[in-house]
């Protein structure tokens, strides 16, 4: 995990008051950009990543040496066309890809923060990210886009900064984390903290990692990202490199082997404490409560053009929860479009090659951009 020395980082010296009451300053925010910012600085798109994403949206991730997490959607001539748009993505506050997080050293103790790191919220994450706009001299983003937790950031961003985005695409998300969402996150956190190597969050000082707990957290979460139908079609009851059941507890079934693999590769790239902090930020997300029970008030006087997208087989952030965002926007006559994309790939659909989805994003962005140019 020490290959992160060359990450692009913005040091934010402006103090940031967190929702938990603490104030942080002079903290790093790691980011990456793709494409070129034009002279008018009107072609910037802020992409917000999901729980386990990072700033390496597309191309080869220099840390994992694998494709970026949104390679299907972002890149030259793709839905978010980097020949045309300037894409910015920051690793979230609390993350483990260079931004200020629990694996950073606490200057007071000279040890890793661990659980001494302040609990952060989606609001804090967004308030940290907006500094990147100032850094690049961008007055107004052309768009702010994200799926899942990225979608929550999109909603919070537009709410916090009503004049800073022409368009917004919240994808497969919610305005408030449901009991089921919180339950699954809690399961993941319990798996991590139950690992005897977690050591109350101080595993770094003992040169160990709660990899078993983190892997289980990832496995459980991964199931929630897929649909029953998708799982059944891909794996069914197929056996893993064996002709018959072995009457033991090795991975007899392909689905077991697949999940174990997903767990094992995850621990190599993700920090357990970051997982705790970021899932907590998601759980605390409740834009409805923040605006006293009326989500519409979150977007009062907004001029942003919204495009809300959900997926038929997403049971983690189901269409109904996405529609509630649409309803709240319609209630205040905001400019909002909505489509539910047919897909049996579950919540993960937004990260995958789902042509209708990719087409919808491309068309929305390109047409909106052309329109803005005509107006100017």
């Amino acid at each position: 995990m020490n290959t992160k020395a060359n990450l692009k980082t913005l040091i934010i010296d402006k103090p940031l008051k967190l929702d938990c009451g603490q104030t942080i300053s002079n903290f790093p925010l790691a980011y990456e950009t793709f494409g070129t910012l034009n002279a008018n600085k009107d072609n910037a798109i802020l992409v917000c990543h999901a729980l386990t994403g990072d700033q390496f949206v597309t191309g080869i991730n220099p840390i994992t040496k694998k494709d970026g997490w949104w390679t299907y959607a972002v890149g030259p001539n793709k839905s978010i066309d980097t020949n045309k748009y300037f894409v910015i993505c920051a690793n979230v506050l609390g993350g483990c890809m260079g931004s200020f997080g629990p694996s950073h050293e606490n200057p007071k103790t000279k040890k890793m923060y661990g659980t001494d790191f302040p609990v952060i919220t989606i609001n804090d994450i967004v308030n940290a990210q907006v500094n990147l706009l100032d850094f690049f001299g961008i007055d107004k983003l052309f768009s702010v886009v994200g799926g899942s937790m990225g979608g929550m950031q999109v909603l919070q961003f537009v709410s916090n900064f009503p004049d800073k985005a022409r368009t917004a695409i919240p994808i497969a998300c919610t305005s408030n984390h449901s009991a089921q969402n919180i339950a699954f996150n809690e399961l993941g956190r319990q798996a991590i903290t139950a690992d005897h190597n977690w050591l109350d969050g101080n595993y770094n000082s003992k040169n160990t990692v709660p990899d078993k707990g983190l892997a289980v957290a990832r496995m459980a979460a991964h199931i929630t990202y897929l649909s029953k139908k998708g799982l059944q079609e891909k794996f069914g009851r197929k056996l893993q490199e064996r002709d018959d059941l072995k009457f033991g507890f090795d991975a007899d079934f392909q689905i077991e082997s697949y999940l174990r693999y997903q767990g094992s590769v995850f621990v190599d790239r993700f920090d357990a404490n970051s997982y705790l902090y970021i899932t907590r930020a998601m759980d605390y997300f409740d834009l409805v409560k923040q605006f006293n029970g009326n989500l519409s008030n979150a977007f009062k006087n907004t001029k942003t053009k919204f495009f809300v997208i959900s997926f038929t087989s997403d049971w983690l952030y189901p269409t109904q929860e996405n529609k509630e965002i649409v309803i709240a926007l319609n209630a205040i006559n905001a400019n909002v479009g909505f489509v539910e994309i047919e897909s049996d790939k579950g919540h993960d659909s937004f990260l995958l090659d789902v042509p209708d989805f990719l087409k919808a994003i491309k068309n929305f962005l390109d047409k909106s951009y052309a329109e803005n140019y005509n107006e100017n």
Binding site: K305, F307, V326, I327, N330, A331, N333, N335, V336, G337, F338, V339, E340, I341, E342, D356, K359, A360, N363, F364, K367, S368, A370, E371
Partner: protein
């Protein structure tokens, strides 16, 4: 461009806010956007057609007018347009009340089931009418609540809405409908176009 669309556009004042209910592939929306107002939104039940609208740069919500109009507050739009779909709803009465609530003014067009060809079709053949504007068979038609121009005029009294403008379209020609010519317009009009208010 369909004559129907030109008539609708002529009724609408410039720079009004418009909601096209059942906006289909967005043809009318595009026309209105180019000629009347950029403040235009659509609602459409078909995913495929929503995609087509997005590709045209139109703001459209995937949804069912029968259930999804309730998200709009009273008088959300200057005009709500419902083109030739009233007959396809399970509950046209509810839909029309919703349209009247959401729009300050509502424009509705209906394929006229009272047209002589339709009447003759049933009279002579003794089977459910199939015409150019109503091409489906009885068993696969989406049009489950067909009505005539006269039915619609009566409907205004039953529901209690005001008709401010009523036009009949015949061979791309439009004419006003009034009490004295209702019988003839109902016989020869292919399409009824109404501007109504609550």
């Amino acid at each position: 461009m369909k004559t129907e669309y030109k008539i609708i556009a002529n009724i609408i004042e410039n720079n009004s806010s418009i909601l096209d209910v059942g906006c289909d592939d967005g043809t009318l929306m595009e026309f209105l956007k180019a000629n009347k107002s950029t403040n235009i939104r659509g609602i459409e039940i078909s995913k495929e057609k929503v995609q087509t609208c997005i590709a045209k740069g139109l703001t459209v919500i995937e949804g069912n007018a029968e259930f999804d109009l309730k998200q709009f507050p009273n008088d959300s739009f200057d005009y709500v347009v419902l083109g030739q779909t009233l007959q396809a709803f399970v509950n046209p009465e509810l839909v029309i009340k919703e349209l009247l609530r959401v729009g300050k003014k509502t424009i509705i067009t209906i394929p006229n089931f009272g047209h002589w060809r339709v009447r003759l079709n049933l009279l002579i053949k003794g089977t459910m009418p199939i015409t150019n504007s109503l091409p489906h068979n009885w068993y696969n038609t989406p049009n489950i609540h067909m009505c005539t121009i006269k039915d619609f005029v009566k409907f205004s009294e039953i529901i209690g809405f005001k008709i401010f403008k009523s036009l009949a379209l015949k061979n791309k020609k439009i004419s006003n409908i009034n009490n004295s010519n209702l019988f003839l317009k109902n016989l020869f009009g292919e399409l009824g176009i109404f501007l109504i208010e609550k």
